[in-house]
């Protein structure tokens, strides 16, 4: 494609950049033990959790920021961030949706996320399947700055024994489960940002699906950063007991600001014997403007443990937002015959940088993993795939298939691939395929010659390129992901 073509298609504005005028309770900037005690007190946490936070904080003090990712940014001043911001009304926590601040509900309406249970059924599922009662909607947990403001369909889910609530609530209502699993997959010593998160995490979602239960609806969490000068540090913990199944989706947006805001989350997944977890992410944090000002620093640790035999964890991510993304959703395949999957689309436009990929750690016998990564670079975007496939000595007969494709749009962007492979036995099989291509002028001309506009033609080609990943997303979100990609690419054709 020519430069003008790229220019025309990839210039589009971020639609979710508004700020909600809401009274917030924000603690002063800075990070020390006092701040951590303050967060813990605000959340009325038990002592064991405060101790966990302090232990993590002390460990974090001895760590330095990782410099190995292929991303460049000025150093983050951790004393210039406020670590807790909550809508004021949270002081008397809403008992039901009716008590949620209307401004908040309006915000989620604007984002297209229905927090009313009936609306969720009629609006999202009804359109596809003709409506109908029962458990076929999408249950939503909405996290606004540092707190969860609403969780829908809780009652219906709890009738099946499924726990779906905010992390804070889980600490109060199900302390034994939280205590048993917290930090077992991503320990507080894991890395710089995981340690920081363990010290200051505010809210997030908690899911527990009991033995043999197949969760009948999509569970999802929407994260929204609203307050200025704050960071978001959510923590999500998802446990699927023996033979359970759950599909979970997270989405995220933030206002448009000149400052960079830090988002350092930790997600832990645990799948017991024969359990299956499908975890999908549509990440659309504010990416910064066309000159590279502002945007979210998205430094996230996500890992799943296939603890039991024949368990399966599947990560699907569509990453279009953030100024900088640093994220490697991984699977530890401990159970024999367990399966790990990673499907990713990462798009960088303007000055965005992404260093993303996965780690597949094969420990169990005959464990299997699949990696499909699609990187799209436009503008001055830099996109790196970084992946590790490690097959331990005892993981006999393990198999991995990796495919990394990069699509370049224009002369100023970059695509990089860093695959690491470690195989410690001779009975395993590892395949790696990689391609790099440009949006070809031939393809663009072909579509335009049939009457399709240049912009639609680019979107069609890019969506075609991402198809293997999109088809892994729950149907409703595949459409959302496609639209997001179009918006993120507007003005970028090359």
């Amino acid at each position: 494609m020519s430069n003008e073509q790229i220019e025309r298609v990839t210039k589009k504005e971020y639609e979710w950049g508004f700020v909600t005028p809401i009274d917030s309770d924000i603690i002063p900037k800075g990070l020390n033990e006092e701040v951590i005690r303050m967060i813990s007190t605000k959340k009325q946490e038990p002592d064991w959790l405060l101790d966990y936070r302090l232990k993590a904080f002390r460990h974090w003090l001895g760590l330095t920021e990782p410099v190995w990712p292929k991303v460049h940014y000025p150093p983050v001043d951790f004393q210039e961030i406020s670590y807790y911001a909550a809508p004021k009304t949270d002081k008397d926590r809403p008992k039901s949706l009716d008590e949620v601040d209307p401004e908040l509900l309006a915000t989620y309406e604007k984002l297209g996320i229905p927090l009313h249970e009936r609306a969720a059924l009629a609006g999202v599922v009804g359109a596809e399947s003709g409506g109908g009662e029962g458990l076929s909607g999408i249950a939503v947990d909405a996290v606004f700055d540092s707190v969860s403001v609403a969780t829908t369909y809780k009652d219906k889910l709890s009738a099946l024994g499924i726990v779906f609530c905010s992390f804070s609530e889980a600490v109060k209502e199900h302390p034994e489960l939280v205590r048993k699993y917290l930090g077992t997959v991503v320990p507080h010593t894991d890395n710089f940002y995981a340690a920081l998160n363990a010290a200051v995490f505010s809210d997030g979602s908690f899911v527990y699906v009991p033995k043999g239960v197949r969760c009948p609806m999509e569970l999802s969490t929407y994260f929204r950063i609203n307050a200025s000068g704050t960071g978001q540090f959510e923590r999500t913990l998802l446990v699927a007991d023996e033979g359970a199944y759950v599909s979970y989706l997270e989405g995220c947006t933030a206002p448009q600001r000149d400052e960079n805001q830090l988002h350092a989350a930790v997600v832990e997944l645990i799948a017991m014997e024969r359990a299956e977890i499908k975890y999908s992410t549509v990440q659309n944090w504010y990416p910064g403007d066309a000159e590279g000002r502002g945007g979210i620093y998205n430094f996230v640790t996500k890992r799943g443990l296939c603890a039991g035999a024949r368990s399966k964890i599947s990560w699907t991510q569509v990453e279009t937002g953030s100024a900088i993304t640093w994220k490697y959703p991984s699977c530890v395949l401990k159970g024999d015959d367990s399966v790990g999957e990673f499907y990713s689309v990462a798009l960088t436009n303007n000055f965005q940088q992404a260093d993303t990929g996965t780690k597949m750690i094969h420990l169990g016998k005959r464990t299997k993993s699949t990696i499909v990564s699609k990187g799209i670079s436009a503008g001055r975007g830099q996109n790196s795939y970084r992946g590790l496939v490690r097959i331990a000595r005892q993981a006999e007969g393990a198999r991995n298939y990796s495919q990394c494709d990069s699509l370049l749009m224009g002369p100023d962007c970059g695509a990089h691939t860093f695959p690491y492979i470690e195989v410690k036995n001779t009975s395993s099989q590892v395949e790696h395929e990689a391609t790099t291509s440009k949006i070809s002028e031939d393809q663009l001309f072909y579509l335009r010659q049939r009457g399709i506009s240049e912009e639609d033609a680019v979107n069609m080609i890019v969506n075609g390129f991402c198809k293997e990943v999109f088809r892994e997303l729950p149907m409703e979100f595949a459409v959302e992901a496609q639209k997001l990609l179009e918006v993120s690419l507007e003005g970028a054709v090359g």
Binding site: R450, G464, K467
Partner: protein
């Protein structure tokens, strides 16, 4: 009525002049064949008319259905009924053939102020056109041209042409690399679309295709200009004698 009128057209590709004063007129309902040796400017002409980037007219005029063709962008030309059957149709992985066709049909309808076809109406049109063009139905549910054989790609081009019902179809060496069955199938598709309102420009190297698509006029393109025109017998003469004698006759290379 004049469908296409080209006057004194000069065109460059990457700074090099390829078309050097080309004149051609095609009336509605006519089929014209353009023949010529390699490098004479046949493909340049088809790309220039369809508006490919990098193909630039430096002098002359092209009037299409009374409008200034060169002032329109690529997709406008398509929506105005100009269709190019590609010599080498490109594959577009991951893009479903049917989805692509529906997008194309509806983009053109929208341009013409017609209502877009819904899925049911579109499928009815597909069924109707599949009776005209011999194309395996399963190819419609695959990605555009992805993994198609040479013959399947060309049939797919003709099927697209049938679906889009163009006013002016340019077939750029559609016969190249086809076996006789595929050639006949392509020709049947083209002939089925012949009508008093439609014109075709058949660009070819060999006269073989013209046994099946009988042209009203045959032109010889040499050195970026039409140097000789005649009826179908000119194609037969070229088949027999090659291009050398014409090149000598006009003193051009």
């Amino acid at each position: 009525m004049s469908m296409l009128k080209i006057e004194n057209l000069h065109a460059t590709v990457a700074g090099k002049e390829i078309l050097k004063g080309l004149d051609l007129e095609v009336k509605a309902g006519e089929v014209h064949a353009i023949m010529g040796p390699n490098g004479s400017g046949k493909s340049t002409l088809s790309y220039l008319l369809s508006g490919r980037d990098g193909y630039e007219a430096t002098a002359g005029r092209v009037s299409y259905q009374g409008k200034d063709l060169l002032a329109m962008n690529t997709e406008e030309r398509a929506a105005e009924g100009l269709f190019l059957a590609f010599q080498y149709p490109v594959a577009i992985p991951g893009v479903n053939n049917m989805y692509f066709l529906k997008a194309a049909v509806n983009a053109q309808r929208k341009h013409r102020g017609q209502p877009e076809l819904d899925a049911v109406e579109f499928m009815a049109l597909v069924d109707e056109k599949l009776r005209l063009v011999d194309l395996k139905r399963e190819l419609l549910s695959r990605a555009v041209n992805d993994g198609f054989s040479g013959g399947e790609k060309k049939r797919n081009e003709i099927f697209q042409m049938a679906m889009l019902e163009p006013k002016l179809a340019i077939l750029d060496e559609t016969d190249s690399g086809l076996d006789i069955d595929a050639l006949k199938a392509v020709a049947d598709g083209v002939n089925a679309l012949r009508s008093p309102e439609r014109s075709s420009l058949v660009i070819t190297h060999y006269q073989r295709l013209l046994d099946y698509i009988v042209p009203d006029r045959v032109h010889v393109l040499v050195g970026g200009r039409i140097v000789k025109s005649g009826d179908k017998s000119l194609a037969l003469e070229l088949e027999e004698r090659g291009y050398g004698w014409i090149e000598k006759e006009v003193g051009a290379v």
